[in-house]
Subunit: 446 residues, 2 copies
């Protein structure tokens, strides 16, 4: 395992530059260069913990590579002057103890697991940037008033077992050992066995219990996984809310008929009905505008042969909005519109919801502190919704939570092509450091 | 093999009723009852030659069941006073020799093969009705002026080997032994080996050569395989033309993107584009009206997951019309419309034709004779296009050809549910008999 390639010497030099006042351009440039180096070194360490053959990163929950990454982070935390500890769910914490020991901690980090053949940044960046920021704060300002903890959350993606947010959900009380009893991966390995093999689980020797009661705030830095910041030339996105999601499967049943012998007016063409519905879904979503998005992503046509009028079509509808009432209203609208469209065509319609997640608004005070931090640092930023789910939505149920985005090139994620430049990564880490400084050292309350 | 269950006694009684003058209602009823019995008996014989386990009929080209059916028909032809013979392609002819031996023959029949688990009527009915009609004519009127031949064509469906119209195409010079060299069925059996095993092929002992030169006319009776006659309460459809067909595959390439993080205006959603195109295809086809039909029957979406904006969609377009200029014009229209729709969405479009068959107009004089026959017999009929391909389109290239439809319940075909009532079957056979009488005995020329 490569050790972290950032010299203590370099950090000590930076200790002269402070976040407690606006940075001079020269100081800011040096600090960004330092954060670049630290973040890139950490990302290299994590990307090396991968089972992918190709250029992507694969690090599934409780795999060999996953454990390798968590143990490497534990060592790096210790080297960085943080006190590392695991909890029973496999989450790793690195604590910079504050002088007021009774105050709950500020937590920052993201998830260590990846999708299969994913990128180097999703999740990993939030951990690397948190470590880089906290190392810098400790070297520069020493002991904070309030404890700051870097967290490497065990799981978020749901890539190995059919459950997502295991790490943050365990802390927030939204996931527990009772939920995993029947879970197996594609090779038939149970969640429990995989967890035990890594030394985690209820009462495990490696880990301590942890819950959401001792959290003052949670901050997650993440790549955008969209192209809004890139297209607008913005350095940072301050997340207003993580959108709620509702997913449906719509089934249309008409009549499979001979494509040559069935005149147009005699048809009950399920695909034609589906097309009309998807067209209106799109038109209404465009009309209402962001942060609403509506997607028909999967479609199965039956019998799906060129010379037969389709008798049955199944398609999915994924609707997201950060406002729960508007999310609800849009879903009600399309249910009515689809029913009318089906009736007018003599098609049978079934529409069932199979996934629902409520919107998770981020904490107002934290958002304002982040807006302020960007302004003070001269970093361009905008408020935006997160269209994807993140660990911060679990934390938002138990403590004030915030999220920061940095740009993703081409909006590409969950792919080896995922990319954010070192400078963009460093800018995110700098804003995070500024926020942690305000919360941990200046005693800002949220 | 069950012998044909119609007594000679019964036929001789019918000999008193003639097609040379309008039938009295009593006579017509008796004749229809007779034709019902004959046709149903023949269909029973053919349906027994099947490899289906269930209720459907499976009789693939050059299979054991297929040979059983052809040999049974050969015996029945001989019993019926017809001279049977095979050609090298496996077509079976049963000739009622005319008094003027030099005149080319009137041919009537259809194909003996079926799709996998098909119905009892598709193809088989045209053979059974032809045999019933010619038996009746011979018993009633004796030797015709012009020879009449019943044909059981070896193959039309393309169900076993990837080639359709082998039987009629061989006669019309549209198919030949050079075309089958590389053809294999799903089990890897070559067309040639299967053909040889049944005793057919070039220079085979069982068969003689036959080509289209000695044909005066071809008439095919077939179930409609659509629901037009049933819905309109018509007994018979006189086919104006067999539609031409053009089939395309349309490929749309956009950008696969995260369904949550990609705002609506930033999307290049290939499925949304495809839906818009299919909607306009349908609207324009409805606007133009029959006999034009346009169908998007097959669609493949990629990556086809609920939370990803579809980056690629492939769908088929099947367009049919009996008029070649209007067929061409519609295909030109949609190519332009699709190009515009793709451009306005920033989607890449590829549209390639992979199947083309020109319309086959039926012979005018034969159509008029059929209209007249229906009128004289007091049988309701209408002109209509055939939206499906039939052997008559092959014959239409070498001799005057005609087609007659009888109703299909619910328009269902290529299924065990295929059904036409005995009375409807008999009415078709009666019209066929009347036409054959006019052509073979009264010397109508076409």
């Amino acid at each position: 395992m490569a050790a972290l390639q950032v010299s203590k010497q370099g950090i000590r030099e930076l200790a002269k530059m402070g976040l407690d006042a606006p940075l001079a351009e020269q100081g800011k440039e040096k600090l960004l260069q330092h954060l670049e180096t630290t973040v890139m070194s950490l990302l290299d360490v994590l990307a090396a913990c991968s089972s992918s053959d190709g250029s992507g990163v694969t690090r599934l929950l409780f795999s060999e590579e996953w454990l390798e990454a968590q143990l490497a982070l534990k060592d790096i935390m210790a080297e960085s002057g943080l006190v590392p500890s695991f909890d029973e769910a496999g989450n790793l914490f690195g604590k910079l103890q504050g002088s007021e020991a009774d105050l709950p901690s500020i937590i920052t980090g993201s998830h260590i697991d990846t999708v299969v053949d994913g990128g180097r940044y999703d999740g990993a960046y939030g951990i690397a940037a948190a470590l880089a920021a906290v190392r810098y704060l400790r070297e520069t300002y020493g002991v904070p008033v309030r404890s700051i903890e870097v967290v490497s959350l065990s799981e978020e993606e749901g890539s190995r077992f059919p459950m997502a947010y295991w790490g943050s959900g365990s802390i927030a009380g939204e996931r527990g050992f009772a939920d995993i009893d029947d879970l197996e991966d594609v090779n038939g390995v149970s969640f429990r066995d995989a967890m035990r093999a890594c030394g985690f689980g209820e009462g495990s020797a490696r880990a301590a219990r942890r819950d959401g009661a001792d959290l003052a705030a949670f901050v997650e830095l993440h790549i955008e996984q969209g192209a809004v910041l890139e297209r607008e030339g913005m350095a940072v996105g301050v997340v207003d809310a993580i959108v709620g999601q509702r997913r449906f499967v719509v089934t249309l049943t008409g009549e499979a008929n001979h494509a040559g012998t069935t005149p147009m007016p005699m048809r009950k063409d399920a695909l034609e009905g589906a097309c009309a519905m998807i067209t209106m879904l799109r038109e209404e979503a465009v009309r209402q505008g962001g942060p609403l998005v509506a997607t028909a992503g999967r479609m199965l046509v039956s019998p799906n042969v060129p010379n037969v009028v389709p008798g049955k079509v199944e398609f999915t509808v994924d609707v997201r909005h950060s406002n729960p009432e508007r999310l609800e209203a849009f879903c009600g609208w399309f249910a009515d519109a689809f029913r009318e469209a089906a009736e007018s065509r003599g098609l049978e319609l079934a529409c069932s919801e199979w996934f629902r997640e409520e919107p998770a608004p981020m904490n107002e005070e934290l958002k304002e502190l982040l807006d302020g931090a960007c302004a003070e640092l001269g970093i361009s930023s905008r408020r935006m919704a997160s269209g994807a789910g993140h660990d911060a939505q679990m934390f938002s149920r138990v403590c004030p939570s915030a999220m920061l985005f940095v740009p993703s090139r081409g909006g590409i994620s969950h792919s080896p092509e995922e990319y954010t430049s070192p400078r963009e990564l460093a800018i995110g880490a700098l804003v995070l450091a500024k926020l942690l400084y305000k919360l941990g050292y200046e005693g800002e309350r949220v």
